[in-house]
Symmetry: D2
Subunit: 311 residues, 4 copies
Amino acid sequence: MLDWQLLTQVIPKWLEVSRKEASFGKVATYIPGLAAAPQHTLGISVIGITGEEIHAGDCGFMFTLQSISKVFSLLLALIDAGENRVFEKVGMEPTGDDFNSILKLELVDPGKPFNPFINAGAIMMASLIGGNTPEEKSNRLLRFTRRLAGDESLTWNESVYESERKTAHRNRSLAYFLKDNGVLLDDVEDTLEVYFRQCAIEVNAKQLARMGMILVNDGKHPTTGEQLIPRRYIQITKTFMVTCGMYNGSGEFAIQVGLPAKSGVSGGILALIPGQAGLSVIGPSLETKGNSIAGLHLLKTLSHNLQLSMF
Amino acid sequence: MLDWQLLTQVIPKWLEVSRKEASFGKVATYIPGLAAAPQHTLGISVIGITGEEIHAGDCGFMFTLQSISKVFSLLLALIDAGENRVFEKVGMEPTGDDFNSILKLELVDPGKPFNPFINAGAIMMASLIGGNTPEEKSNRLLRFTRRLAGDESLTWNESVYESERKTAHRNRSLAYFLKDNGVLLDDVEDTLEVYFRQCAIEVNAKQLARMGMILVNDGKHPTTGEQLIPRRYIQITKTFMVTCGMYNGSGEFAIQVGLPAKSGVSGGILALIPGQAGLSVIGPSLETKGNSIAGLHLLKTLSHNLQLSMF
Amino acid sequence: MLDWQLLTQVIPKWLEVSRKEASFGKVATYIPGLAAAPQHTLGISVIGITGEEIHAGDCGFMFTLQSISKVFSLLLALIDAGENRVFEKVGMEPTGDDFNSILKLELVDPGKPFNPFINAGAIMMASLIGGNTPEEKSNRLLRFTRRLAGDESLTWNESVYESERKTAHRNRSLAYFLKDNGVLLDDVEDTLEVYFRQCAIEVNAKQLARMGMILVNDGKHPTTGEQLIPRRYIQITKTFMVTCGMYNGSGEFAIQVGLPAKSGVSGGILALIPGQAGLSVIGPSLETKGNSIAGLHLLKTLSHNLQLSMF
Amino acid sequence: MLDWQLLTQVIPKWLEVSRKEASFGKVATYIPGLAAAPQHTLGISVIGITGEEIHAGDCGFMFTLQSISKVFSLLLALIDAGENRVFEKVGMEPTGDDFNSILKLELVDPGKPFNPFINAGAIMMASLIGGNTPEEKSNRLLRFTRRLAGDESLTWNESVYESERKTAHRNRSLAYFLKDNGVLLDDVEDTLEVYFRQCAIEVNAKQLARMGMILVNDGKHPTTGEQLIPRRYIQITKTFMVTCGMYNGSGEFAIQVGLPAKSGVSGGILALIPGQAGLSVIGPSLETKGNSIAGLHLLKTLSHNLQLSMF
């Protein structure tokens, strides 16, 4: 079990060592909202299911969820559409390819995305969230994340949303491909609006770690005990976090760190320490596969020293 | 040289034999404007550069150019943007793949279409046609085809255009992919409008054979001698008609027929008999690769009996 | 924790239910040694790290390890060549593709196999086992499996080995591809001999479950406490068993069963119940991805009813 | 028609200009027999069907046919096995991919090579040549090339043959892949022996141009009129020379030069001037696609100045 007292002392030190790694990565620049993030930002929050908390570094730095939102849209799609419907629309297999590869869509008959964490799969999940309009769906997902974060102030970064919407040609290409294959039934632009909005939800490491803690706690509210998410859906989601949570670096992450996790291009990583705590790091400088370079270093340090791997 | 007197007698007989092949193919059904074409329609027109003409079967049947328009948009892009600019945007290699494959775009760095006759390449050519607006470009291409057909009545089939625009998810996917790669610089919807309009230009076999005759005549008007298209651009276009004119059946067509040709999903085929005549067949029933099944049969019969192969 | 008394009663019943599934699969037929296996054979063995054992059905049926041997060749390659050398030669990523796909080798620069459990990766691992000749390497691996099984009688099925060697054109193709890329440095036929021999090691479910139990016991002999395999190498291997152990059905297996596992075309499956027991099923009738169809059904039943998923 | 008197004067000048291009390419180095060729070697021979001859530069330099031999093995396979049998084993489509790509074999069901000029296709053609042993087949092909060259001295370069045999891992990989798919029925090593021997036939530009002249002369001996090759088989072969003769630079060559041609990694190119002459250039320095860089330059110069394109 985690020794919280020890952790309170060592984590800030480890964080400063990992922060140096940021020099070897690059901040995403395709939209201004991401490009503005300082390269050496690094923060971590760990929140235990029995109430312990550790926060170090820039854990108040606000960042957009980006691909981390795929965890929550998958959960909500499972809740709203059910397991069968979800797996009519996406597969269960990891790919080893780039997160936004069209190649894989073509090689698999009939164009069904490999899993819910590649962009094409996440676009499908956005279409399965309950609601009659993009606004309803987006608001529903926002409320869901607010409940998990225990913070009603969570909202979208409008400027990031607008930038994404304007420049997301690759995602549009993917969505029209899904539409052409008859996998996506909804309107393309409507579905993309939901997808871009979910990517633009803004959090800090503290809020995100709290969301992770609920997942670790089997979907139950830590004090009221209310079941916010069915256990089975958390199990499915955690499995995908292990097999495809870190883009085409997921296999390496499973070996080097061994925790369910999901990263985003903003430099955030959500990780789960089974049975114990939710964890979040933010470090905008990315390695070549799109994961936070200093964040990865810090997670490896933690996993190695504390024997956190589930394997 | 073609024996026109003999041809006048035998072509109608050969046509009736080929017409039976239509039973083994299928009319395209993805839009109503194509699905309505009678399966056993078959017409042929041959127009010599010295004025001879042969017309048989349903040569007055009106059909939209569809992919045959790629011949004329390539020519106009060469005229308007020049050879260098054209080959900055598309390659020169045949592919062996489906006409609308995204796969090939991903395997080739940096997402430049393989050639101007696959859909992605043709979309790029549409963007290179001169004009400041989609309307100007579309009108410019229409006038170009009218001049080649020697017929000012040529125009778009508006209902086919509208249907294409609404259902062309795959082409939208391709265009956004090109946009994402930085190959397509223009607005996606503007470019697609030009592309859909060119596909919707309506002709009959007589008009199309006349257009082909101008190409065979090295781009010169047959009576005035005016050079409508530079010789070099015709040479380039004829080469692509040999290497990639019949989708992923181009290699087989080169061996079985051996003429520069371009087919469309409406069942039309434009073929060139070098030094002698332009030729067009229309037969809406398609084989699995998207070419007119009866049209192919008729062209094989002609090539075999008259020794027309250029090889 | 497993209720062994209860299990002793329910497992034989569950096994008979699962046995019926064998009708919906097919026994591998590419070599006589596999084709001879009775379709409805089904056996299971579970061996706990504290000595409990359950055996039901055809758990004495002898079968060849086939791809299950990849678990042991990876472990031995790690022991003999070290972690760094192993990951110079194979990647860590799952693929979603067929187990013997050449495609993936070409798309990844420079032809390094994606992971040690696809055939190309396993061939590389065979080349890393210590020894100067194929005989030395093969004997070394055999002794390793004997020690894990606690049974000196384990040996190769010579007739299966001979058949594999003669018909394994796809594996030869993969090996020459690796040789051409400069990834495989040893002689191709020498390396394949080691690989074919490891596939032909013959076991029954009891012996294989015992091998799995050692892995679950962190590589330690259950009574002497001797460390047969370093803990770190077991961790690496278990991770690959989760992400790529069941061919291109690994993702689905992780969600439906949630245990580290490895299957083979003979119908065997080795599975690990972390912290508790090694488990093996044998059922030669395969589903389309190459896994035992009745074996999968039985594992799903166990996981579902006993809540065995690690996720 | 070619002005032979003029050509005799200008070709030596053009050759010296093209020779300078050799500096920008690289001689193939994968076997010693090729690596030894002087980079700036450049020779050309043109032989007309009515007896005219022009030779300039290093036209006596001996080089191995390499991929140029695919022209002759295709012709002999057509003669020995017939058109139907040949096209049961290879397709007719160009690919746009590398000459030895395995990728294309996997994407096409059921592993039939795209055309007879990619390596996999040429290996299939070697298996169709008449004869009961590799020796018989190899000797049969050698005699065929001797008859076309009108020179009984043609033979294999044994040292090049031996080197190829030892290092051709990629070709072995391709052949085993074909064997696995059930396309190649013969023994792999036997078939490769025929293939490696055909690649090792040694010629100079004069002999090769003479071979080309027979093809241009519709397969007839220029003085005796004997039909050495049926006209139909020459037509098929010429078509492939246009669509796939220059590796994945075939499309560009068709546009820039416009002649049926086939190149080899030794730096040789065989080209046909329809109705007039056989032509051969040798220049061992290669561009990135594997074609003679100075040879390409010289052919472009000739085609441009003499308007030789068939398009």
